[in-house]
Amino acid sequence: MWEYTNKVQQHFLHPKNVGEIENADGTGEVGSLACGDALKLTIKVDGNEVITDAKFKTFGCASAIASSSVLTEMIVGMTLDEAAKVTNEDIAERLGGLPKEKMHCSVMGREALEAAIADCRGVILPMAEGEVVCECFGVTDLEVIRAINESSLRSVEEITNFTKAGGGCGKCEDRLREILIATVQVVPVDQLQQEKPKRMTTLQKIKKIEEALEREIRPGLRKDGGDIELVDVDGDFVLVSLRGACTSCTKSQTTLKEYVERKLRELVLDTLIVEEAK
């Protein structure tokens, strides 16, 4: 059973703006029956390019219906320029969040909106010009790259959650990984795990630990005004020094064990023990 927020349930059970606007100024159609979800969005705009009405028809699960419904609520009253800035994250946020496996429902909403705006303006979307990567769900490389950048995706599994690419036969997984590496310019998390060797020299360990600290751990600590420095690696013992706000934080020991150690075990070597350097 999915854990849907009350907001999702509300919009699913009592959807707003169901239907199709006759003589709509813009129509956006995405998805297909085969894919398991599809959305047809129609919008009406006035002389100042303000969206005055929006209606949807959706085939899909509860989160697809809820995403469509909340989207129509969000965009009425916006100008086309404002609406063009609505992201899938905005849609998900408005619903109080979506289960991660369902994020593609919010992406479908954003895509339909873009298509409707483009239709209004009589332009062709660049997405349709990309190269199809996932044959099962007809997802292009441009769509994948955009999702990676907009939602900071870091693994193939996340790409699947957000775009559905790779969720069918799975043949495009390698290609998705390539796109991911090329887009974010670093080795993705799942690749790192796969390559995790059983025995490492201390030098290799230090390199891997530094990589993991920089990419996965420091950003989180810095958000809270803290930081971490690698002091030494002795066998499986990783000596670190906490900096900034971390030094005076009462939870720093928990952070060290529950967060830093767990992350390093996951990403580098599962026998590592993290200790604070005195």
Partner: protein, 395 residues
């Protein structure tokens, strides 16, 4: 937490799990409280518990037409399945071919897909296709068997459609070729008569919670004389065939559940079949563009799988949930994957229909009033969702 009470729900999801029969609960209770002895102990306090396990073994054997020593208790159907397949592969290390079907439960499907990495040896797996109605082609089955085949594993009845496979004949054909035969009978045991004495079946898996016993207990039938390698090695429990202290209470409950199922099978089947048919006919009549998935007669008496075209299964289930009606769907969204059920796809059910499939699986605890309640609620639910669907054209 527990805000959906059993007396409120219309439970039609019995292929997922069943209500534990009150008689089963009553039989289990003493072993969860006072009689905690270890069945392997030398003292009488434990010994009497051992006697209860022995009785349960006889009851399970009785339902299957087997000998008690042919029954090994396990923790679930999945464990029984894994034990049987891996035992056969270890018993015949030179044979690296497995024959199964495209519609097996994940317990067999995923096991077979992962055999190479699990065992470190290369295997060949033949997955027999099914026809549109979910039935197997026995000619293709014969062709698939080879000198290299270690074991055939075919489910007795399908969990999603209820379609029953001709196990007696398939097991006979396997034995003609000197090949071991396993059947995952998790959905069949307790619902259709089984007499293993008369069959060429070497291994049979069953699960307690599908026939009104508790979760966490299953059994594996191993025909006497069949080579066997344990899956869980450890103590001498189950005559060395499955280490680990027995789940006594659940085993005792499984025994009682088997006895109940055997005693009332024909009568209960007739009642359940009537309810199922009433539901099925009513839905197909009341909802346009709805269709039955699976063979109409070669089928479990409790199961019906119906597709409502142009709507999505999860959305249907969540609307049903408002009325406390419990069922399942083969749609992609309910599985956590992005593709609809592998069973329906193997049957060639079009995507327009597979995404909107609902499985109703009944039990003797269902009533005619419940069936009529579902018949009243379903058509408006489907109509409401179709009104929202961009593919639905009213005509």
């Amino acid at each position: 937490m527990m805000d959906c009470r059993p007396e409120q729900v219309v439970y039609m999801d019995n292929n997922a799990t069943t209500r534990v029969a009150p008689e089963v609960v009553e039989a289990m209770t003493p072993f969860l409280s006072d009689f905690y002895g270890n069945p392997s102990s030398m003292h009488r306090f434990g010994g009497q518990v051992g006697a209860a396990v022995r009785k349960a073994r006889e009851q399970v054997a009785g339902l299957l037409g087997a000998e008690p020593e042919e029954i090994t208790f396990t923790s679930c159907g999945t464990e029984s399945d894994s034990t049987a397949i891996l035992s056969a592969l270890q018993s015949f290390p030179d044979k690296r071919h497995v024959v199964t079907t495209r519609v097996e439960h994940p317990a067999i499907k995923n096991l077979c897909e992962g055999l190479d990495s699990l065992t470190g040896h290369k295997h060949r797996v033949t997955r027999l296709p099914v026809a549109d109605d979910g039935t197997l082609d026995l000619e293709k089955y014969r062709e698939a068997l080879s000198d290299d085949t270690a074991i055939v594993s075919v489910m007795w009845a399908n969990n999603e459609t209820g379609v029953i496979f001709p196990i007696a004949e398939m097991a006979r054909i396997a034995h003609e070729h000197g090949i071991l035969f396993h059947t995952d009978a998790v959905q069949a045991v307790g619902k259709i008569p089984i007499d293993l004495n008369k069959l060429d079946v070497d291994f049979l898996s069953l699960s307690g919670h599908k026939l009104h016993a508790a979760k966490g207990v299953g059994a594996l039938y191993v025909r006497r004389g069949t080579p066997f390698v344990p899956f869980l090695t450890g103590g001498h429990q189950e005559r060395g065939r499955r280490g680990g202290t027995e789940n006594v209470a659940s085993i005792v409950g499984l025994g009682v559940a088997c006895e109940l199922a055997g005693a009332n099978m024909e009568e209960e089947n007739n009642t359940v079949r009537k309810l199922r048919d009433r539901l099925e006919e009513g839905l197909l009549k009341a909802v346009p563009k709805s269709m039955l998935n699976g063979h109409k007669t070669d089928r479990l008496p409790n199961t019906t799988n119906i597709s409502f075209e142009y709507v999505e299964g999860e959305a249907i289930l969540l609307h049903m949930d408002r009325y406390n009606i419990c069922a399942s769907s083969g749609s992609a969204c309910t599985s956590g994957s992005l593709e609809p059920s592998h069973v329906l796809r193997a049957m060639g059910v079009p995507f327009t229909a597979a995404h909107g499939s609902i499985r109703y699986s009944l039990s003797t605890y269902n009533t005619e009033e419940e069936v009529d309640f579902v018949l009243e609620k379903m058509p408006p639910i489907i109509a409401e969702l179709r009104a929202m669907s961009p593919f639905w054209k009213e005509d």
